[in-house]
Amino acid sequence: MKTIYDTIETVARDLYWTALKDIPDDIRAALKGGLDAERKDGNSTAEQVLFTILENIKTADEHDTLVCQDTGLPVYKVVVGTKAAVDIPELKSRIQRACERATVEYPLRSNTVHPLTRKHTGTNTGQGIPIIKLDFAPGSDCIEITMAPKGSGSENMSFLNMLNPAEGLRGIKKFVLQCIFESGAKPCPPMIVGIGLGGTSDVAMQLAKEASTFRKIGSSNPDPDVAALERELLDKINQTGIGPQGLGGTTTALAVNIEWAHTHISHNPVAVNIQCWRGERASARITADLKVTYGNGGL
């Protein structure tokens, strides 16, 4: 008899493939908006880059192939309902098994190496990999899984600065713009800029990853001050002229997403994590009776 764990394993495997093949609708719409804007502004190189990106997404749809060769480091965000009858260590071990199966059965390029010896595991799994971010939903009997294969070009553009409180909002803006400048062409712009404010250093980085990788384009932070900062930074980043692939244009970022936590009176932590234009993520909800609903880039 099929168990909840069998379903989790199959779904987690399929989500890895789906995330690599099917670009979320919100990302597609933002890229199309960028193409229209560059065309209107007469930026021919930027227009050609965005046209090629959209052609590439269409080609992957038509041929049922991967959008990008970077199969990333697998990141799973799992929200477990408090009424779902699952053993968490078993759930984690099944997701690890799902990554191994996704890699071997397709086969996907494996990227996972030991940080010192650089020896490959060959399965896109290993110590601490896949990355599994667990959260709990009160009262629910469902399990929601979102998978993001985080690519290296964008992930290498990660920054943390424990600013002084006296540097304030101005210091935050200055640091973010400096990070965008340093990233330049490298993270495959147009990029999604994730910013984490507050917490301790590790929390700030985690918030930045949540913002860059798991939030939909077009969403804004519920806090109006934070949402205003998102809008201001997006506007300024797109005024830099870095543009698609860093070859010039007005579409440097598709979104600036900020997540925040309260922090210490002595802290002013700012973390920046970049996601590339493909913004890949795929989601599914598993109910107690093992019904699975898939969502294109979110539920």
Partner: protein, 192 residues
């Protein structure tokens, strides 16, 4: 801005005629190289087992499937960030005669100058557009240094490979440098 269709191997005259923002498509063969490939060539000082004179090199590590006869079938071939491998560019163009590097993200000033001296160019591909790139690569013809998998030295046969944007020419001009200098000035002028 002109469109060029080039057949490999490339001559110095062919690359010297190219100007910033020209678009290029390539027919023939290109070589795939990545971090580990170049660490072997330049840090471990092991000469590449094939002549790279006049060649086009692509910054990549492909996704492949090994066939029973030992050949490799393509699964997904795309391009990685060149900037990470910037320090190897002068050696590629001056020591080994590579005429064009295809990548994304660009390379830095010492590489721009080396390309000017040697007569080589940097062609920007659209990063992440691997579904298209994989179709334009007809076949994996040969592979050396399989112990570095997937960062081996690869030889691909290509048809209409592109569109590639001439982003660094062989006359000391870099579109990346121009864009970054403009961005720095604009950021400095922001009221924060």
């Amino acid at each position: 801005m002109a469109d060029y269709k080039l057949q490999t191997p490339l001559s110095e005259a062919q690359v010297r005629q190219l100007r910033l923002e020209d678009t290029v498509t390539i027919d023939g063969t290109i070589f795939g190289i990545r971090d580990a490939t170049q660490i072997r060539i330049f840090d471990e000082r092991i000469a590449p087992p094939v002549d790279l004179t006049g060649s086009v090199c692509l910054h990549t590590a492909p996704g492949v499937r090994k066939l029973p006869d030992g050949r490799y079938e393509k699964i997904c071939i795309g391009t990685t960030t060149s900037t990470r491998m910037d320090r190897f560019v002068p050696g590629l163009v001056e020591q080994y005669g590579v005429r064009a590097i295809v990548g994304k993200g660009g390379v830095l000033e010492a590489s721009v100058q080396a390309m000017q001296r040697a007569g080589a160019v940097y062609l920007a591909i659209v990063g992440g557009a691997a579904a298209l790139e994989t179709l334009q690569i007809e076949e994996i013809e040969q592979v050396w240094w399989e112990d570095l998998m997937p960062e081996c030295l690869w030889k691909f046969r290509v048809k209409d490979f592109g569109p590639l944007i001439l982003a660094i020419d062989s006359h000391g001009n870099s579109r990346y440098r121009a864009i970054q200098e403009r961005a720095a000035a604009r950021i400095a002028a922001f009221e924060l």
